[in-house]
């Protein structure tokens, strides 16, 4: 018998005035910051490292380890960049956190900046989140008025400014070095690594880039301790020395063909089936799931027989998906053709490829064109081999691109063509055309 999970990150949602500093402080807000400022900053890094917190933005890199990569002897400045460019299809948890409870994120930003010695933090926010922008603007103004930002925060020696920086509608700005280039006022072309941002990042200075949800977790880890954080989730696999575990609460986004799409906070490791059936009201219209995207479309697809896969950092990879990604589930019912689904994902990546690396620019564009041909009823079976060849030749995994966008474009192709091959063969052999409307000129 397990006790019901008590939300951590979404606890204050729906409270009146949840966005105001006064309401946040009534609920104990900024006590974690006071605690952190009373410690040596390296102790803050140790606590976050001990908690096992892994980045929530998609890559799952351990947060405390990332902070520890900053050169100790650097004279500064050091920058903290907050990645609020949430753009992975299916993902909307940062939006809800920022719109409804901005202070727990801002508190995490101040704690993270203190730990990393940053005196300026830039919150890169996608342009589409206009409401988040305005909520954050007033929340930041409240912090300056209350002495929680600016010079000598809470009477300490530590000073910090936080600036909001709005994007302009480009998915690639969520890639951390693309984000840095965009922040610097340039086209968002990802950089070749190394040097990694911890050594040379924004404005050529050491930089840490953290996701919004990750920093919200930092606030609670400082408030309640590393051991508390580790009571949730999936412990390290003792048989695998490289496994880092999947600790803490996670915001799972569920969308697509379910009765109740929404944001659900649960310990890491819940299965797709539990999320769909017990939290999102089940597959809509009494249908069955054909496929489920486990973590934003770049992670690929779970088939109907893989829905008991635990959604922790290691789970989706065990069934051939790219990873947990952003833990955004998109449920696809049994009435939907995977030809249409894959066309949609390929078109997305063709639109969002920054164009810097040829395999990605050409691969995403050609895969979209091939799928257009198949959808129009002119496909041939050998097109499927061609699609697989494209998928296998673009990305950082085959070593042909600078960033991981192309791996994210390739993964849905690989998974769809292996796990749902019958959908493609039937479509091609029957000569039928896709019925979903798409607009001419809508590219």
């Amino acid at each position: 018998m397990t006790t019901p999970f008590e939300p951590v990150l979404l606890k204050r949602l729906g409270k009146p005035d949840s966005v105001t500093l006064a309401s946040y402080r009534r609920d104990g807000g900024y006590q974690a910051l006071a605690k952190a400022l009373a410690m040596p900053r390296t102790r803050v890094i140790d606590i976050v490292r001990e908690s096992g917190l892994r980045g929530r933005g998609g890559a799952g890199f351990p947060c405390g380890v990332k902070w520890g990569f900053l050169p100790e002897d650097h004279s500064g400045p050091i920058y903290l960049c907050v990645n609020g460019d949430e753009s992975e299809p299916g993902t909307f948890n940062n939006r809800i956190l920022l719109e409804e409870d901005p202070h727990q994120v801002l508190e995490g930003i101040i704690i993270g900046s203190y730990a990393t010695r940053a005196q300026v933090a830039y919150l890169y926010l996608r342009y589409e989140y206009g409401r988040s922008y305005r909520v954050l603007e007033s929340a930041i103004a409240e912090l300056y008025d209350a002495g929680l930002l600016g010079k000598n925060i809470l009477g300490s020696e530590y000073s910090l400014d936080i600036y909001l920086h709005r994007g302009a509608g480009a998915y690639i700005c969520g890639e951390e070095t693309g984000l840095i280039e965009s922040l610097e006022g340039k086209r968002a072309w990802p950089r070749i690594k190394p040097p990694f941002p911890a050594v040379e990042g924004a404005f050529r200075k050491p930089t840490v880039i953290n996701n919004v949800e990750t920093l919200a977790c930092v606030t609670h880890i400082l408030a309640r301790g590393a051991d508390w954080f580790k009571t949730m989730g999936v412990p390290k696999d003792p048989a695998n020395p490289r496994d880092l575990g999947s600790y803490g609460p996670k915001l799972y986004c569920v969308s697509g063909h379910v009765e109740k799409p929404g944001l659900f906070e649960l310990p890491l490791g819940i299965t797709a089936r539990e999320l769909i059936d017990h939290h999102a009201g089940g597959v809509w219209k009494g249908r069955q799931a054909k496929a489920v995207v486990p973590g934003g479309i770049s992670m690929g697809f779970l088939s109907a027989s893989e829905l008991d896969t635990p959604l922790d950092f290691a789970g989706p990879g065990r069934v051939g998906c790219l990873g947990l990604g952003t833990a955004a589930l998109i449920v696809i019912d049994d009435q939907t053709s995977m030809v249409d689904v894959l066309y949609n994902t390929c078109r997305f990546f063709a639109h969002e490829s920054c164009g810097q690396c040829t395999p990605c620019r050409e691969g995403t564009a050609w895969s979209t064109k091939i799928l257009e041909r198949i959808r129009a009823g002119h496909g041939q079976l050998r097109d499927l081999d061609l699609l697989m060849e494209i998928a296998q030749s673009m990305g950082t995994i085959p070593g042909t691109t600078i960033c991981g966008l192309a791996d994210g474009a390739a993964w849905p192709m690989k998974n769809a063509l292996t796990k749902f091959r019958a959908d493609f063969e039937d479509h091609i052999q029957s000569g039928k055309k896709s019925s979903t409307r798409t607009l001419v000129g809508a590219h």
């Binding site: 909307f92 589409e128 340039k186 998109i330 607009l439």
Partner: protein, 158 residues
């Protein structure tokens, strides 16, 4: 078309102390100008470049990368309506919504109604998949949108 208003110039200058490089003010400056004039004219690009100690080509390079900023020959309408077509919205009628709105306003994505009121755009994931199909009106999201109630949604976001 004329360049920057005094107000836009003042707003751009306010951003300079936030960054260690002037070039970093490029995106804020482009936003300030487009919000005011519904496009970024070539004269504005030249004047932004002057303030930021850049070549106009550098400003243009950044501006054109995003596909978000409009040149003066294609200014935005009063309301810019982005319709999401990414997977979560597609699964719940996003493509049909886009087609219905194009028909209703008699324009293709990218175009503006002849009265200058509405610009229709195709969007990739807007980050509101819990409310699919969703749209963005200027910079405010509207969730669970259908073609029948679109006028009401537009009134909610003047």
């Amino acid at each position: 078309m004329s360049g920057l208003s005094d107000q836009a110039r003042a707003k751009i200058n306010e951003y300079l102390p936030r960054y260690p490089s002037k070039q970093a003010v490029t995106l804020p400056a482009l936003h300030i100008v487009q919000e005011e004039t519904r496009c970024v004219s070539h004269a504005a690009v030249e004047q932004i470049a002057k303030i930021l100690d850049l070549s106009p080509a550098q400003v243009h390079d950044t501006a054109s990368f995003y596909g978000f900023f409009r040149s003066e020959d294609r200014p935005l309408g009063r309301q810019r309506v982005w319709v999401c077509r990414s997977l979560p919205c597609m699964l719940r009628g996003g493509e049909e919504l886009l087609a219905a709105l194009a028909q209703r306003w008699n324009i293709l994505p990218g175009q503006t109604t002849s009265d200058g009121q509405i610009t229709l755009e195709v969007a990739e994931c807007l980050g509101a998949c819990d409310g699919a199909p969703c749209i963005l009106i200027n910079d405010e999201l509207s969730l669970h949108v259908d073609a029948e109630t679109i006028d009401q949604r537009l009134e909610e976001r003047p």
